[in-house]
Structures are given as structure tokens and as C-alpha cells.
């Protein structure tokens, strides 16, 4: 790195002349101009997180290598496991993309879980109240209502932020709990399947209300939704004025404000998109995977998607890779349950990956210098 790049960094002072140089000391120097972390930090943080969790697994009396091998084989080793991984990757990709859009301008939306849930509820409402529609119309209506519900939930986070100055982290998280309680209400109450043996859940969707799947697997067309959304986002960031303004706000919010960019409007738009994408994920989940609305429709996809987005450095193409990785992590977590480990091990791994990731983003800005 050249000297002029480090102009605002701490420049080490030369030792005063005439003084003895025998005494040596080391010190940490912080260089804020090195803003981009190298490409290998995400990989390194995943590896370090695996090592950290290995300690906890070993403390539980298991061999970490066996556990990781089983997780990997469960997630990627068989054709069934791989399609399951892809099935889990779909909601992660959609939610993660929505989160990446918001985080790009430092809108910390952690409400993807709730937005996904209301999306799933809206899609189910179509099957309950308009049961006789043809395949095309019912899927289209479910998709549109899912987007609308998710976007509305996102709007309920955005407006308190823009017009009342309320931290969006708190609002979006509170709304997650509201959405989950609303889900409980409908599956135990008005939408409960009368033929469901008193089990909480809506009636099964008909074939016309289900998304088409690939062959005999559970992999559904939602994957195409996700990939199309990534492509649209990628193109919009690259080639539109909106994408340029988003990038500018992310890079320097003060400069963006002075340039006359309407920040409030952008926050609202971004939260509508973020919520809408999570709503699509919810719709795809009920219509493509579970085929009915029930409790625990999402095993924390909304939270995992935060790490997925951050690990991909908010890059839409990187998101495809990280969402498959984390889909594998979830499936792998299920597959170690058979040897008596709780599946929360994958949650633990996710949290520690995030820890190492944010530390790794900063640590390369430091260098150890020898001052003589």
C-alpha cells in the first residue's frame, strides 16, 4: 500500500536523531483507510467459528470431526440432502436479499422473521377465502398478497424510523413477536383445519394452490423467484439512478444528504422491498414446502438471513453462495440430532460465524509496527 493512501493514518514518527536505538518496542497501529477487508475474511471466519464450536462439542463428550462430517454429509452428501439444502436456501436467499438492500444504507432491519410470517399468512388467506381459483390465479394472488403483507410489515418499521425517530431494530423485532402471536391466533382459532384432529394448522392446500416442484423432490419454483430477484437487484444497483443513490448513501450518508438525496423516502422504499422479499419467502414456504400454515413455519430463517447477508458482504451474487451454505448448516443441524446432539448447534455456529466476521472485518486495519 502506497504512502499517500495512508495519509490520514497514524504515521510513525522517526526516532529522534542522536538517541540510542537499542530499545525496541512494538505497537498497534490503526489504519482507517483500509476500509475493504480482503476476500478471505469470510472463509477464515467460518473456519474459526467451526473451531470454536468444536470446543463446545468436545465438552459435550463427542468428537467434533465426526459431528462435522455427519453435518456435511447430511447436507451435501446425498441427492436428497442436497435438494433439502436448496429448499432451505430459498427463504434464506429471499430474506437475505431483502436484508442486504436495507443494510446497504444502514437500515438495520431484523424483522425478516415477522415479515416472512405475515407473508405466509396472507398467502394462506387466499386459500381460505378464495378456494376455487385456477392454479395460475391462485398462485399469482398468493404471491401478490404475500408481497403486500410483507411490505406492509416493513412499512410499519420504516415509518416510525423516518417520521418519529424510533430505532428500527427495536420496532422490527417487536413486530416479529406480534406476527408470531398473530400466527398462533389464526392456526389455533379461525383458520384451524376442522378435519385436523384438533392439531393447530390450516387445512392442506390443494394442488392448484401449491407451487410446482422439480420431479419427485421438494425443490420448488421459489428458487426461480429468488434468482430472479437477485438478478433484478444486481441490475438495478448497477444501472439505475436508484442504485447509485443507494450506493452513495451507503458510502457516505452526510455527502448523500448534502447532495439532496431524499433519505426518508429511500428508507421507506428500501423497507418496502425488504419486507416484500421476506413476504415472498413466506409465501413460497407455505405454498411450496409445508402446503399448510402452521406454527414454526420458519425455524429462524429471518435471523439466519442476517448472517447470510453479512457473510456475503451484502453482495447479491455472494448471497447465492452463502444462502446455500447456511441452508446446508440448517440441514446438517437436523442430521446430527440422530446422534444425540441438539440442532441448536447450527444456531450456535451461525452466531459465532458472525462474531468472527465482524472482528475479521476490522482486524486487517491493524498492523503491528516495530518502533525503534
Amino acid at each position: 500500500m502506497s504512502l499517500e493512501n495512508r495519509s490520514n493514518a497514524a504515521v510513525s514518527r522517526p526516532a529522534p536523531p542522536g538517541k540510542s536505538v537499542w530499545r525496541m518496542s512494538y505497537r498497534l497501529e490503526y489504519d482507517s483507510s483500509r476500509a475493504r477487508s480482503p476476500w478471505w475474511t469470510p472463509i477464515l471466519s467460518v473456519v474459526l467459528a467451526l473451531v470454536l464450536c468444536a470446543i463446545f462439542i468436545a465438552a459435550n463428550g463427542m468428537s467434533p470431526i465426526t459431528v462435522y462430517e455427519r453435518m456435511f454429509r447430511g447436507a451435501f452428501g446425498t441427492a436428497y440432502g442436497f435438494t433439502e439444502t436448496m429448499v432451505k436456501a430459498i427463504p434464506l436467499l429471499l430474506c437475505g436479499l431483502g436484508i442486504a438492500v436495507a443494510y446497504r444504507i444502514s437500515v438495520w432491519n431484523i424483522g425478516a422473521e415477522g415479515q416472512l410470517t405475515v407473508g405466509a399468512m396472507a398467502a394462506t388467506a387466499v386459500t381460505i377465502y378464495c378456494p376455487g381459483l385456477s392454479s395460475f390465479w391462485s398462485i399469482l394472488l398468493m404471491l401478490l398478497l404475500g408481497i403486500a403483507a410483507g411490505a406492509l410489515w416493513g412499512l410499519m418499521t420504516a415509518v416510525p424510523r423516518t417520521h418519529f425517530g424510533v430505532n428500527e431494530l427495536i420496532t422490527s423485532l417487536m413486530l416479529n413477536y406480534v406476527a408470531l402471536l398473530a400466527l398462533d391466533y389464526v392456526v389455533f382459532g379461525p383458520w384451524k383445519d376442522p378435519k385436523g384432529f384438533n392439531f393447530p394448522g390450516s387445512p392442506m392446500f390443494t394442488a392448484a394452490q401449491s407451487l410446482p416442484v422439480l420431479g419427485s423432490t421438494r425443490l420448488h419454483i421459489g428458487l426461480v423467484f429468488g434468482l430472479v430477484a437477485v438478478l433484478i437487484y444486481f441490475l438495478m444497483i448497477r444501472f439505475t439512478r436508484w442504485g447509485y443513490e443507494l450506493k452513495l448513501m451507503g458510502a457516505n450518508p452526510a455527502a448523500a444528504r448534502y447532495a439532496g438525496i431524499h433519505i426518508k423516502r429511500h428508507i421507506i422504499i428500501v423497507m418496502l422491498i425488504s419486507g416484500g422479499l421476506a413476504g415472498v419467502a413466506g409465501m413460497a414456504e407455505v405454498s411450496g414446502v409445508t402446503h399448510k400454515l402452521m406454527q414454526g413455519i420458519s425455524p429462524g430463517y429471518g435471523y439466519t438471513a442476517i448472517i447470510v447477508a453479512w457473510l456475503a458482504k451484502l453482495n447479491p451474487l455472494g448471497l447465492i453462495l452463502t444462502s446455500v451454505l447456511f441452508g446446508g448448516l440448517i440441514v446438517g443441524g437436523y442430521s446430527v440430532q440422530t446422534i444425540g446432539l441438539p440442532s441448536s448447534i447450527s444456531e450456535m455456529l451461525q452466531g459465532s460465524i458472525l462474531f468472527f466476521l465482524i472482528a475479521g472485518e476490522m482486524i486487517h486495519r491493524f498492523r503491528i509496527r516495530r518502533s525503534v
Binding site: 431484523i110 413477536y177 458472525l354
Partner: protein
Amino acid sequence: MDFTTQLLIAAISAGTPLLLATLGGILNERAGIIQLGADGLMLMGAVTTCIVYLRTGNLWLALLATVAVTAVFGLLHSFLCVTLRANQTMSGLAMTLFGSGLSAYLGKPVSGIPLPGTSPKLHLPWLEPIPVLGPIFGRMDYLTWLSLLLVLVLHLLIHRTSWGLHLRAVGDNPATADVMGIRVQLIRYSYVIAGAALIGLAGADMVLAYAPTWNEGLTAGRGWIAVGLVIFARWNPLRALFCACFFGALDSLGFRIQLLGSTVPPYFLKMIPYIVTILVLMYLGYRNRNKPSGTPEALGVPYIREQRF
């Protein structure tokens, strides 16, 4: 006992974990570090209390272990945010996710096993005959008394001592504090660690007084409510007391209404604390739109000595 007294008792018992967590958050944020890991810390505190209490049968040892474990988490947070100057929002979020995962993993063997005892209560027989005060203060937990004491101590500490002046200086303007010879990093480290330990105690109180067994995700987002309460209380321990009691009352109101035989589905009653949090914060934002909110001015801004301006 009439309905109001019962509600007051329930409000104080439900408000204690919120109060402890809010006080911890205030300490963190007064030093200029955002603490969003409160929920994860509370879960870690709760699970540590359960495990140690069940293994040893000694409550005080369990509380000590809780303080130690959550202090380590606080150390991690301060290392990331103070030394490495990492993104404080993401660090807190990572702590929440890691805490909920690790607590579920560690708590699996003790899940559902009732604890040997609940929070010990301090009996004050001379208070009992007084009508309203008696039932409320006559049989209160030690932890509740501790939290009330802490309100007073922290209030005096922050506003009446030179330590508190240093703390506020570090939170408002670390560069000036640094020039004055205050050790910014040391102060930030110590208050973040102390705050994390308090939040851990909040988790311990939750499991002891509220639900005397460990369940995965036991806090149900109360750590996040505490994050909101810090703002609601405007970073002031005395206000935190009233805010925590208010939210404790809301929390237990739903349950009380259900006992009275209301026909409203319980799911809607459980939504009350979450929705009220948002509404209160919106009201505060509206009312204080042209006023300083009381936020420590350097909140969330890492301090870099080499970039003093």
C-alpha cells in the same frame, strides 16, 4: 388482596428483570457503547443460573457464575467495539444470536427440570400489617431489593460523583475526556462488562422468579424490550424504575385479564407489551422531535485517538 395490589405485586416481579437489564443497558450506553446483545445475555444468564443451581444446589454460587459468564460476554463485546472498533450494531446482534444458540445447546440437558427453589424472599414482618405496602414490600425477592438499591446507587454514581462525571464525559465526548486524562478505553471496558453482568443477572432473575425451569428462548424478546426501555428512560436510572414497573404491569396485565375471564383471545393480550413499546417510542420521538433526546452524544461512534477532531 384486591386486583390493584395483585397487579402491583405482579408488576414489580415482572418488572425486576426488565429493570436490571435496563440498568445494565444504561451503563453500557452512558459509556458510548450500544448494547443490542441484551436478549442473548439474558438467555446466557438464565441458562447459567439453571445449570449451576441444579448441579450444586447453591443459589449464590449460581448467581456468581452468572455474573462471571456474562461478564466474559461483556469483555468480548467491549473487545470488539472498543479495541477493534467493530460495528456495534452487528456485534450486539451476533451476541444475541450466539447467546440464544449457545443457551439452547447448553440448556438441553436441564430443559424442563424444575429448580430446587425460587428466588429467596426477604420477610419483613413489621411491614406486613400495613395495607398496600405490606403485601408488596413485606415479601420481596433479594434480587428485587438489589435492583431497587442499584437504582439509587447508579443514580448517585452517574449524577453525583466524579466517576459518573468521567463516565458521562466518555459517553458524550471521548476526545475531550482523553485530553483531560481520563482513560477512555479502560472506562468503556469496565462499564460494558459491568452492564453485561447486570443484564445477565436480569436473566437469572427471570428464571428464578418467573418460571423456575429452563426453556429454550425463555426471555421471549424481553431483552429487546429492555433495549427500548433504555431509550424510554432517557438513560436515567430513576426513570428506568418507573418505566420497568410500567412495562412489568403491562406484561402481567394480559395474564390478569385472562384470569378475570375475558373473551379476548390470549394471543392479543400477549401482544400488548410489544405494541406498547413501539407506540411509546413513537410518542417520545414525536414529543422530543425538537429537543435533545438525552442520547449520549458519542453513542455508537468508536473513538480513535489518532483521529482526534
